[in-house]
């Protein structure tokens, strides 16, 4: 078991975001855009889901792009090339439904840019015109610009503080595209829930079909526990097996955001204990 999922490459993209290549030939062969893995870094560790940001079937690796937010991601960020993670399972979730829609706008907010990358690539390969909007609070948080450029026909960058690209939110950029008469056939939005909520509210107004990728708290990732449940169109869905992508116009984002905060107190305690001075 040990030594199975070795870390092949590691690089910090920003002080809080790192990219890791992991040896996982069987998953690399099977995975499709939109799918994720669950890993455990060590034996006492929590199972955490992470999107497969890239993969190479021939070379047999996966790439993950991870934002340090708490104990597990912090611990993970301290592993080095040559170390192994104790458990890695995937590919999980349903792949993105890829077809030729016409003009597809892919919106990635913050760390959400990483999972939107394979989707942009697959949409482009299917013959869509892909316009990507990358948003971050500030310049340093806009990651993977080059890769997204290569996967898209056009990219637009927004920062909240105007330090890079257009000043404003991703929704402002989307509104501008619509105002400029771009015919948008599909929007794919991945990022903080609040961003996905407002993108969905905007696209609803224009009746543009919208896919969002939800990052609820998970345990098993196989539909066994129900921890990841959300309300979509009035029905309870399990994000790990029914998703992670859903029709953004139907998702109850407020409930989802509330559920994401379920363990904030304990998460703080865990982090505090793990790195008392450093977070």
């Amino acid at each position: 078991m040990i030594g199975m999922s070795k870390i092949l490459e590691k690089e910090f993209i920003t002080p809080e975001v790192f990219r890791m290549k992991i040896d996982a030939p069987d998953i690399a062969r099977k995975r499709k855009a939109g799918q994720f893995i669950i890993l455990r870094t060590c034996d006492e560790g929590e199972r955490i889901p992470l999107t497969i940001a890239d993969a190479d079937a021939d070379e047999g690796w996966l790439e993950l792009v991870v934002q340090v937010v708490g104990k597990t991601t912090k611990f993970f960020s301290r592993l080095e090339v040559g170390d192994s993670i104790c458990d890695l399972v995937g590919p999980l979730g349903r792949p993105t439904h890829i077809e030729r829609y016409g003009n597809v706008v892919v919106i990635g907010g913050g760390i959400g840019i990483a999972p939107s990358h394979p989707i942009a690539g697959a949409m482009k390969a299917a013959g869509n015109k892909v316009i990507s909007i990358l948003g971050g609070r500030t310049k340093d948080l806009v990651i993977m610009e080059d890769k997204m450029k290569a996967a898209s026909d056009q990219i637009v960058i927004t920062t909240d503080d105007g330090s890079y690209g257009m000043k404003g939110l991703v929704t402002d950029a989307l509104q501008k595209l619509i105002d400029n008469g771009v015919n948008v056939d599909l929007v794919v939005a991945i990022g903080p829930p609040i961003m996905m909520k407002f993108v969905s509210l905007l696209t609803k107004k224009y009746e543009i079909p919208t896919l969002v990728s939800l990052n609820t708290i998970m345990v098993d990732g196989t539909g066994m526990c129900g921890a990841c449940r959300v309300t979509v169109g009035g029905e309870t869905k399990f994000v790990c097996v029914d998703g992670p992508e859903f029709d953004g116009h139907k998702v109850d984002f407020d409930e989802m955001m509330m559920r994401q905060r379920m363990y904030v107190e304990q998460e703080k305690e865990s982090m505090e204990r793990h790195c008392p001075h450093n977070h």
Partner: protein, 480 residues
């Protein structure tokens, strides 16, 4: 034992059932250690002497795997514990598990002549406890003997799921010399025995030991492999070169009640709650990383073993009030009597003939109360039990900070969904032939909860045995 031989049946019938010593209820809710300590030799042999060694022992047929019960009990009387455990293992590879968790009072012990004579099932020969004794004795002797494995046949069998059904198939198929790979979705093997049934009822080292024994026989275990995702059943058969597949994926799909407030924070399925506690060891948080709600007042909905396990786990996680809300009365409770008794002893408060109607949250979206309605029993329903009917306008609320929904599981759809030509019934259970556990798909067998719906360990094992025999036959003859 000289004096033993002299006992007449009448004298045997006079010996009362030997109770198993147990941890004190007040102490045990402060730890996760096993509740009953097990018999020592003297208790075991006294209990074993109660058996009348009936000629056509009805207890045998009442055990789903037909253990030769009088034979193994006789060996215990004679102090021949090695022979006793070997006798049991002829038909049951998980005696330490079954001795602990089988609903014995509904199976082997229900038909016992001693119980009948003493006019109480509770007074039957304590077959399960004796089975546990023999298994525990063996464990104390060190490593178990590895069963003989026949020379390699060149055939390969994939087993999907490592619960009791999968474990049983693995042993029986491997013994014939076939190569066996067991695929498990989670990071630990054992199925419900690991993630569901709590440590205080079934210590995890017992399950791990059985899995290690299988590995020593040469069974290959692939953890973290979700079939249906990493490989489909068809890919196992066509691309990965397996000659047969056994599907034992269990009933892991939690049912919810579809009442308002069910997605509030603090509302768990029993599967999630127990998985966090057992598999992820949330009871050691923050030494371990997985959190769980640590609250004072907890409501559990349901009346089966799963509900009892959840309620007793909540106590061990520090809850002061644990309410077990069940819509029928005590006699209809599907949980084992012993478990209900243990739960009450530990302080679980039974709220019978009540049903939750709505879960109420605070401004942060966390549960703070549950509204229930009182019920009364009406006419018998299809199951023969009297149907509970709500009493109009009898709603009331209980203050709670967490709710655990333990009303049952449906079958996990991952495999059927990705194997479209595999026949399932309207509940999503895979359809398999009783005699062979063959599905409609050539080379594919299924058994355990994925076929039976949520059932029991021993029934899952029984189907595993049947399937293994048919798999061995199929690999020999290539006839479907």
């Amino acid at each position: 034992m000289e004096e033993e031989k002299k006992l007449t049946p009448r004298e045997r019938l006079k010996i009362p059932p030997q109770p198993m010593p147990e941890q004190d209820p007040k102490e045990r809710i402060g730890n996760v250690d096993e509740v009953p300590y097990g018999y020592d030799e003297e208790l075991a042999r006294t209990e074993a002497m109660r058996c009348l060694q009936c000629k056509n022992a009805p207890c045998i047929a009442a055990c789903p795997v037909e253990i030769d019960i009088p034979a193994f009990i006789k060996f215990i009387v004679d102090g021949k514990y090695r022979e006793a455990i070997n006798k049991i293992k002829e038909t049951n590879i998980l005696p330490a598990v079954c001795g602990r968790v089988c609903p014995q009072e509904e199976q082997c012990q229900r038909t016992c002549i001693v119980g009948k004579s003493r006019k109480s099932i509770d007074e039957a020969v304590q077959i399960g406890k004796l089975e546990r004794f023999a298994a525990d004795w063996e464990m104390k002797q060190g490593e178990a003997e590895v069963p003989d494995v026949k020379p390699p046949t060149g055939k390969r069998v994939a087993i999907v799921g490592s619960g009791p059904a999968g474990l049983t198939v693995a042993a029986d198929v491997r013994r014939e010399g076939h190569e066996v790979t067991m695929f498990e979705a989670l990071h630990k093997p054992g199925g419900v025995l690991i993630y569901g049934i709590p440590e205080f009822r079934l210590p995890k080292r017992i399950v791990m030991r059985e899995v290690e024994n299988l590995e020593r026989m040469g069974v290959k275990l692939e953890r973290n492999k979700v079939i249906g995702k990493l490989y489909t059943i068809d890919e196992l058969l066509e691309d990965e070169g397996y000659d047969a597949v056994f599907v034992g994926t269990g009933a892991g799909l939690p049912l919810f009640m579809r009442i308002p407030g069910e997605n509030l924070n603090g509302v768990y399925s029993a599967n999630e709650y127990l998985t966090r506690a057992n598999l992820m060891q949330a009871y050691s948080f923050p030494e371990t990383d997985t959190p769980i709600a640590l609250v004072k007042n907890v409501a559990v909905f349901g009346g089966g073993n799963v509900a009892m396990d959840s309620a007793r786990t909540a106590l061990r996680l520090g809850a002061e009030n644990v309410y077990l809300v069940y819509r029928r009365s005590r006699i209809e409770m599907p949980a084992r009597i012993e478990e209900v008794h243990h739960a009450e002893e530990e302080g679980v408060q039974l709220c019978l003939l009540q049903n939750p109607t709505r879960i109420i949250g605070d401004k942060n979206g966390w549960v703070n109360a549950v509204e229930c309605i009182k019920m009364e029993l009406g006419e018998p329903d299809a199951s023969g039990r009297r149907r509970p009917v709500p009493i109009k306008d009898s709603e009331f609320t209980i203050d709670v900070d967490a709710c655990i929904v333990a009303i049952g599981n449906a079958s996990n759809p991952l495999v059927p969904d990705t194997t479209p030509d595999l026949e399932t019934n309207r509940w999503g259970n895979i359809i398999a032939d009783d005699e062979t556990m063959k599905t409609n798909k050539r080379g594919v067998f299924a058994g355990g909860d994925i076929v039976l719906g949520a059932a029991t360990v021993i029934l899952a094992m029984g189907q595993g045995r049947t399937a293994a025999a048919a798999i061995n036959e199929y690999l020999k003859t290539d006839e479907w």
